[in-house]
C-alpha cells in the first residue's frame, strides 16, 4: 500500500517524533505519580498496622483475643487480617490460616501473602503485615489488604489511557495538518518559481505574517529576485547603451557614404569619403572589441599568465609609453616609485589596466596640469595610484563610472569609448585586487594589490 505523500514529509515525521516524545514523557509522569501515591498509601497502611500490633508486653491472652475480635468485627470490605499463634506456630485465633514461613517477627510492616479464612472460605491475599512475638511466646500477626495499590495502578492506567490516546491522536492530526499546509506552501512557491524560470521576473513568493523559516526563506528569495530583476534591467540598459554608442558612428558612416555616392565628383573625392567612413567603422569595431574584451576578462575564472610581476617595471613601462602623449598635451607625467614591490599577477593585463588609468588621467587633465603615477607601500600590500589635476569625479558619479559605457557628462567631448574603467575594474577583480577612488584634488584612483 502506498502511503499518502504527506506521511513522507519532514513536518509529518517531526509531528510523529514529537508525539512519541510526548507519550514517553506522559508515561514517565504517570509512573512517577503512581510511585508517589503507592509509597504514600503503603506508608499509611504500614504505620496503622504497626501501631495496632504494638500491644503491651504483658497483655493477657484474653486481652489479645478481644483485640483480634474487635479488629475483625467491622470489616465489610474484607481488608483486615489478624491472628494469634502459639509458640509452636499453631493457630489460636483470628482469620489468618498459617503463620507464613520466613516472616520476620520484628514488629515492622512487610509485604506478604496471607491465607485468609473466614465464613466465606479460604483466600490468599496480598497484604502488608506485621508479626510480633509476645513475652508469652505467642506470635501476633496484623495485616491489611494491599489490593488498594493495584486499584491505584488501575486508576492511573485508566487516566493514562483516557488522556494519552487523545493527545497522541491530536499530535498526529496536527502534524498531518501542518505538513499538508507546508506541502501546499511549497507547491505554491514552486508554481511561482516556475513562473520566474519561464521569464516572468516580477513574480514574487508569497510571504505570510509570521516569522517562520518558510516565510524567512521566501523573503530571502524575494530579495534575490529583486536583485536579479535589477541586474537584468541594468544589463538591458547596458545593451541600450551599446546600441546607442554603436548607432552614432554607424549613422554618421551611412550618411557619409550616401553623400559620397550622390555627390562625389571625382575618384579622390570618393576616396576621402570612404576613408572617413572606414574610420567611423573602425570606431564601431573598437567598441565591439572593447566590450568583448571586458566580457572575456569578466568570464575568466583564473589567470593562465600568473607570474611574479615587478610593479615598478610596469609603472616605468606605462610612464615611458605615455610620456610623449602627455607632453604633447602639455600635461606633465610624473613617476614616483617609493617602493619596489612584486605581486602575483598577469603582467600584460596589469599593464593594460594601469595604462588605461593613465590614459584616462591624461585625457581628462587640462593643459598645464599633471598626472602622477605612484607606487606606494601600505601595511596590507602595495598600492598603485594614479593622481591627476583634472576635474575629478564627484561622489554621485563614483559608482556610475564603473558602469559600462558611462562617461561623465562633463567629459562627453573627450575622445574614447568610455569603457576604459570597466576594463580596469574587470582586470582588478580578476586578480582579486581592489579598485578605489580616493578623495583629493582632482581624481585619484588606486589599485590595492592585496588579496581582498
Amino acid at each position: 500500500m502506498r502511503l499518502p505523500e504527506f506521511v513522507h514529509s519532514t513536518t509529518f515525521r517531526w509531528a510523529l517524533g514529537v508525539a512519541g516524545a510526548f507519550g514517553a514523557c506522559t508515561l514517565l509522569l504517570f509512573g512517577f505519580v503512581y510511585w508517589q501515591t503507592a509509597t504514600y498509601v503503603t506508608g499509611n497502611i504500614d504505620t496503622a498496622i504497626a501501631e495496632e500490633a504494638h500491644l503491651d508486653e504483658g497483655s493477657t491472652r484474653q486481652h489479645i483475643l478481644d483485640f483480634i475480635d474487635d479488629r475483625l468485627r467491622d470489616d465489610p470490605r474484607r481488608v483486615k487480617l489478624a491472628g494469634l499463634f502459639g509458640p509452636d506456630g499453631r493457630q489460636i485465633a483470628g482469620n489468618v490460616a498459617t503463620l507464613p514461613s520466613g516472616m520476620p517477627l520484628d514488629g515492622m510492616a512487610h509485604p506478604s501473602k496471607l491465607i485468609r479464612v473466614d465464613n466465606r472460605g479460604r483466600e490468599e491475599q496480598n497484604v502488608r503485615a506485621v508479626a510480633r512475638r509476645l513475652a508469652s511466646g505467642d506470635v501476633v500477626v496484623v495485616g491489611r489488604d494491599a489490593d488498594e495499590l493495584r486499584e491505584i495502578a488501575e486508576i492511573v492506567a485508566r487516566a493514562l489511557a483516557l488522556g494519552l490516546l487523545p493527545a497522541l491522536c491530536l499530535a498526529l492530526l496536527t502534524g498531518t495538518l501542518l505538513s499538508r499546509r507546508a506541502q501546499w506552501r511549497v507547491d505554491e512557491m514552486n508554481r511561482r518559481v516556475q513562473r520566474v524560470v519561464a521569464g516572468n521576473l516580477n513574480e514574487r513568493l508569497p510571504v505570510g505574517d509570521y516569522d517562520d523559516p518558510l516565510n524567512r526563506l521566501a523573503r530571502i528569495v524575494n530579495d534575490m529576485l529583486d536583485q536579479i530583476e535589477r541586474l537584468v534591467g541594468e544589463l538591458a540598459s547596458v545593451g541600450d547603451d551599446i546600441a546607442h554608442d554603436l548607432r552614432t558612428p554607424l549613422t554618421r558612416v551611412r550618411a557619409m557614404l550616401e553623400r559620397g555616392r550622390n555627390s562625389a565628383g571625382s575618384l579622390p573625392d570618393l576616396h576621402v569619403t570612404t576613408d572617413r567612413a572606414i574610420a567611423g567603422l573602425d570606431q564601431s569595431l573598437a567598441i565591439i572589441t572593447a566590450v568583448l574584451r571586458i566580457a572575456e576578462i569578466d568570464h575568466s575564472r583564473r589567470l593562465a599568465g600568473m607570474a611574479t610581476v615587478q610593479l615598478s617595471d610596469i609603472l616605468q613601462a606605462v610612464h615611458e609609453l605615455y610620456h610623449p602623449i602627455a607632453e604633447d598635451k602639455g600635461v606633465s607625467l610624473n613617476l614616483d616609485l617609493s617602493a619596489a614591490e612584486t605581486v602575483s599577477g598577469d603582467h600584460d593585463l596589469l599593464l593594460e589596466a594601469i595604462a588605461n588609468l593613465v590614459d584616462n588621467a591624461v585625457k581628462f587633465t587640462p593643459t598645464d596640469g599633471s598626472v602622477t603615477l605612484r607606487l606606494l607601500q601600505r601595511a596590507d600590500g602595495p598600492v598603485v595610484r594614479v593622481e591627476d589635476t583634472g576635474p575629478g569625479i564627484c561622489d554621485v558619479e563614483r559608482s556610475a563610472v564603473f558602469k559600462r559605457f558611462y562617461r561623465s557628462d562633463r567629459s562627453r567631448h573627450a575622445a574614447g569609448v568610455g569603457l576604459g574603467l570597466n576594463l580596469v575594474a574587470a582586470i582588478v577583480k580578476l586578480h582579486g585586487f581592489r579598485l578605489a577612488i580616493a578623495d583629493g584634488p582632482g581624481c585619484q584612483i588606486e589599485i590595492s594589490c592585496s588579496a581582498a
Binding site: 574610420a279 573602425d282 593562465a304 609609453l321 610623449p324 602623449i325 598577469d346 599593464l351 595604462a355 591624461v362
Partner: protein
C-alpha cells in the same frame, strides 16, 4: 597562399581583398581538407581559422609542424579568450589575429610573414642614407647623427628590418613594446611622430611615411 576558413562570408572577404593586392589564393572550408591541401601544396603562407569543422585549427598547425612543414601560419580567431593567442602561437602559429579585424591589418601581417626580415645577425642596418649600428647603439642619416631614446632606437630597428612594408599600429605595439592591447589613444602615432621628427629633417625627403587607413612604412626616398 592557402586560406582555411569555414565561414563563407569571411573567406570571400579575405580572398577578394588579398586578390586585389596581387596574391594568388586558394581556400579550404574545413580542417581535414585544409590539412590535406596544406601538406601537398607549396604555399608561401597559410591563414588558418582557429575554429574549424572537422579538425580544429590548432590541431592542423600542430600536425603540420609535427611533419616538419615550416610554412608560416597566421592564426585567425573569433574566440576572444585571454590565453587564446598564447595557445595559437604555442601550437606553431607565427602570428595571431583576432576577429573582427581590418583587412589592411591582415594584409600587413601576411606581408610581414611573406617577407621575413633581413638577416637578424646583421649588426649594422642600412636603408638609403639611414644607418643603424646595433653594437655601438648609434644612428645616423647621412652625416647627421640622430639622438635616439632607447625605445626610439628599437622602433627604428624594427622598421628598418622591414623596409618598404606596411606596419600597423598593433604590429608595432606588439613587437616593439611587447604590448598586447589596443590603447584608446593614438599612442603609436605620437611615438612615430617623435621618431619622424628626428629621422626626417625639415629639408630632407621623408622616409617614415603614414599609410592611410593602415599604419606606417619606412623606405628610402625615391
Amino acid at each position: 597562399m592557402l586560406v582555411i576558413e569555414d565561414d563563407d562570408g569571411t573567406a570571400e572577404e579575405i580572398v577578394t581583398a588579398l586578390d586585389d593586392r596581387g596574391y594568388v589564393l586558394d581556400r579550404a572550408a574545413d580542417g581535414t581538407e585544409g590539412l590535406a591541401r596544406a601538406r601537398t601544396g607549396t604555399w608561401d603562407v597559410l591563414v588558418i581559422d582557429r575554429m574549424l569543422p572537422g579538425l580544429d585549427g590548432l590541431a592542423v598547425i600542430e600536425t603540420l609542424r609535427g611533419e616538419g612543414i615550416k610554412t608560416p601560419v597566421l592564426v585567425l580567431s573569433a574566440l576572444s579568450a585571454v590565453n587564446d593567442r598564447v595557445r595559437g602561437l604555442r601550437a606553431g602559429g607565427d602570428d595571431y589575429l583576432a576577429k573582427p579585424f581590418a583587412l589592411s591589418e591582415l594584409a600587413a601581417r601576411l606581408e610581414a610573414l611573406l617577407r621575413r626580415p633581413a638577416d637578424p645577425r646583421e649588426t649594422v642596418l642600412h636603408v638609403g642614407s639611414l644607418e643603424l649600428d646595433l653594437l655601438a647603439r648609434t644612428a645616423s642619416r647621412g652625416r647627421r647623427e640622430l639622438e635616439l631614446l632607447p625605445r626610439e632606437f628599437q622602433l627604428l630597428e624594427y622598421m628598418m628590418r622591414r623596409e618598404g612594408q606596411v606596419l600597423t599600429r598593433a604590429m608595432l605595439l606588439e613587437n616593439v613594446w611587447n604590448y598586447r592591447f589596443v590603447p584608446q589613444t593614438n599612442l603609436v602615432d605620437v611615438h612615430i611622430g617623435r621618431l619622424r621628427r628626428k629621422v626626417d629633417g625639415p629639408d630632407e625627403l621623408p622616409m617614415i611615411l603614414s599609410v592611410r587607413g593602415a599604419g606606417f612604412m619606412l623606405r628610402a626616398p625615391a
